[in-house]
């Protein structure tokens, strides 16, 4: 180690050997406490109780990896002379990057939209990619819906999945008990979810910040527990199956005569329905985006953003904060309801297992990692998170672990999200992007 430090990987780097040694020893001790306890020993069931299984080798490799990783960090990142930040870029490069990204940013959204529209017809698109993009689009829609509540109105909602569940169960139950079609249920599911948004909104109006977050979390859990235990009505843990598929203006996606393929004179293919589903969720997501963008310019949208910045100021200016908050909950909930009934019709089967807290956390993570209030950010974050999730499909066991770690690392790397500039919704002469630090998004007033 002395050798590396003296010659140094690059000139100008300085390594304080005693300090680094001490740090590495401390790291080794901590890693031993953490991994030595939980990896080296594992309790397994044996005859007459538990038995201990010992895996010193695995624990040793993990500890060694942590120490070596820390050493590498010291050598390559933290060895700059004191006073200069390790990751600082020169100003010229920084402004250059900003200019380029601004240019790219302008064309990004339309390019993405065009790509999304032609995607199903591209030569390399197969069933798997379509399914994956339907999933991504579902999360984009949920992210946009939650963005209204968290990004615009600044109300931190950890139980958003409850509205998603309400939408899904509304459709499944209405279809099961009354035989309603998807197109009839879609607005009903939205209305029901919005209604529940108001029901939840009323009691929590006085709460703010983390308290609001924890009550919405509790609400999400209550809905899930009720769905799980109300066996006669919701099927409990068995869920509901045989949920009908949507039709295209009355044309079913079946092989039968009078089906979609028959009507248009095409050869029947199961991919038709998938493509239809893809466009359905794309349309729903775009509707969410469109409505959000229009609402931002309406008085109610401005009231949301004002409420986010300062509730007391809002009240003293005569805004009815009750109705402002309730509309945010209701509209956010409504879009989750739409997404929920789409989810139900796509899966054909739903159970409370699909609506756990992890889903809420995932949607919130998409919104926050994308950069709250940024619509494009949600798209990027959804692609990164859900796509990343798929990449690690092989490592089934480690998938959630990697997901959690990624959440922590990205958050530390960019606390304000990937897209960290905000375009104000109203302006005097010219539109100027402001830094995210200037707005109070997610402060949860």
């Amino acid at each position: 180690m002395t050798d590396t430090a003296n010659s140094g990987p690059q000139p100008g780097r300085h390594l304080d050997i005693p300090k680094v040694t001490k740090d590495l020893i401390v790291t080794a001790l901590i890693a031993t406490a953490i991994f030595g306890s939980t990896i080296a020993f594992r309790t397994v069931s044996a005859a007459g109780g538990l038995r201990l299984e010992v895996r010193y080798d695995v624990a040793f490799y993990v500890i060694a990896a942590v120490v070596v990783g820390r050493l590498l960090l010291w050598l390559f990142f933290w060895s700059k002379p004191a006073g200069t930040s390790a990751v600082e870029m020169p100003t010229s490069i920084k402004s250059g990057v900003a200019k380029i990204s601004a240019k790219v940013g302008k064309g990004f959204a339309p390019t993405m939209l065009i790509f999304a529209l032609v995607f199903p017809f591209l030569p390399f698109t197969d069933r798997y990619l379509l399914d994956l993009s339907i999933l991504i689009l579902t999360y984009v829609m949920l992210g946009w819906g939650l963005n209204i509540v968290v990004g615009l109105a600044g109300l931190l909602d950890l139980g958003y999945v409850a509205f998603y569940a309400i939408g899904a169960y509304s459709y499944a139950l209405l279809a099961q008990y009354f035989g309603f079609s998807f197109w009839m249920c879609l607005p009903l599911a939205g209305i029901l979810a919005a209604f529940w948004g108001i029901i939840l909104g009323f009691p929590v109006l006085r709460l703010r910040g983390d308290y609001l977050a924890i009550v919405t979390l509790a609400f999400g859990e209550i809905i899930r527990i009720v769905l799980l235990n109300w066996y006669q009505f919701t099927g409990g843990p068995d869920g509901l199956s045989g949920i009908p598929r949507p039709s295209f203006f009355g044309l079913e996606f079946t092989r039968r005569e009078g089906g979609f393929a028959d009507f248009f004179g095409l050869d029947y293919s199961s991919i038709h329905r998938i493509v239809f589903m893809y466009f359905l969720i794309l349309a729903l997501a775009l509707l969410t985006n469109f409505v959000t963008n229009r609402l931002r310019r309406l008085p109610i949208g401005r009231a949301w953003e004002a409420l986010r910045e300062d509730e007391i100021a809002c009240r003293s200016l005569g805004l009815n904060t009750t109705s402002v908050k309730l509309t945010a909950f209701a509209i956010g909930g409504m879009f989750a309801g739409f997404a929920g009934s789409f989810f139900a019709t796509r899966q054909g089967f739903i159970s409370p297992e699909s609506f756990t807290f992890i889903e809420s956390a995932l949607i919130l993570a998409i919104v926050v990692l994308g950069g709250m209030g940024s619509q494009v950010g949600v798209v990027i974050a959804s692609i990164a998170m859900i796509g990343g999730f798929e990449i690690f499909r092989e490592a089934e066991q480690f998938r959630m672990l990697i997901f959690g770690l990624a959440m922590v690392v990205i958050m530390i790397w960019r606390p304000r999200g990937l897209i960290s500039t905000r375009i104000p919704s109203i302006f005097l002469k010219e539109k100027k992007a402001v830094s995210a630090d200037m707005v109070a998004q997610g402060e949860g007033h």
């Binding site: 901590i30 406490a33 953490i34 306890s37 939980t38 990896i39 020993f41 594992r42 309790t43 069931s45 109780g49 538990l50 038995r51 201990l52 931190l156 009691p203 929590v204 006085r206 709460l207 910040g209 983390d210 308290y211 924890i214 009550v215 979390l217 509790a218 609400f219 859990e221 209550i222 527990i225 009720v226 235990n229 007391i312 807290f357 992890i358 956390a361 919130l364 993570a365 926050v368 990692l369 709250m372 066991q397 480690f398 959630m400 672990l401 959690g404 770690l405 990624a406 959440m407 922590v408 958050m411 530390i412 606390p415 304000r416 630090d437 109070a440 998004q441 997610g442 402060e443 949860g444």
Partner: protein, 325 residues
Amino acid sequence: MEELSCISAVFVSGGSLMEYFLQQLINGITLGSIYGLIAIGYTMVYGIIGMINFAHGDIFMVSSFIALIVITALGLTVSTGLGLTILALILVLVTSMVIASVFGWTTERLAYRPLRGSFRLAPLITAIGISIVLQNYIQITQGARVKPLQPLIENGYTLMTRADGFTVQLSNMQILIITVTIILMTIFSLIIAKTSLGRAQRACEQDRKMASLLGINVDRTISMTFVMGAALAAVAGLMFLLYYGVIDFFIGFVAGVKAFTAAVLGGIGSLPGAMLGGLVIGLIETFWSAYFSIEYKDVAAFSMLAIVLIFLPQGLLGKPEVEKV
């Protein structure tokens, strides 16, 4: 499980319900002690940096696994003598407290400290991330199945016997849990009240900037708060393991939410409040499962949280928060 037997007992009883009520009271206080110990971790951290340490429930879960590992390593069984068992349990407790503290300290260092001074949602997201990481880490390393532990401490005292044979039991286990909780609560209250560390913590709670200007090492104080919270969670972890005899990687989430409810109910930032809140939540949950339905006991606890926050946002022993413009 024992709730089930109690439920069946209520049908047998019919007549005087006093004994049944007393039994539930004892069970509720035991459960409440466990929640109270976890709640202290939430309340201290919230008091000092104003964030919900979402991973705290999972530290509790990890510590109960560590306790299980040490118990298995020591080869403790019910046939071990009571004196030896208690000595061994002290060793188990100390080990799991130390290791849980390391977990707590590392969590703060890696996930929360880099985001100090950042906007409020950021540490909440990393906390959720850490919670996911801990759950899945334990699932991978220790397995996803529930881990059963044979009861180590048996017997107890029969306080009352009714004509139909229903007895009010105070088990040795319950005595142990309540005693340990009282002892540790006293020790930690003394640390907060009398030592320089406790003084520093209270100072940071009031005004972090001013405290640092007066020469208090704020980062260190916050780290120590996490360490103390994790150590108390480890106590709760061992108690939970001994009392229920089954643990899995998911126990931290529900216990965490309930303990947070307890912290809010008692008045966030207040130590006696957290203990009181824990007792109330434990009693509500026990009585709810005893008299109404077990399936909806979590709904009862969660609804309680909403009701408390709406009607009594400052909690039972908390100070009302005044918002200034």
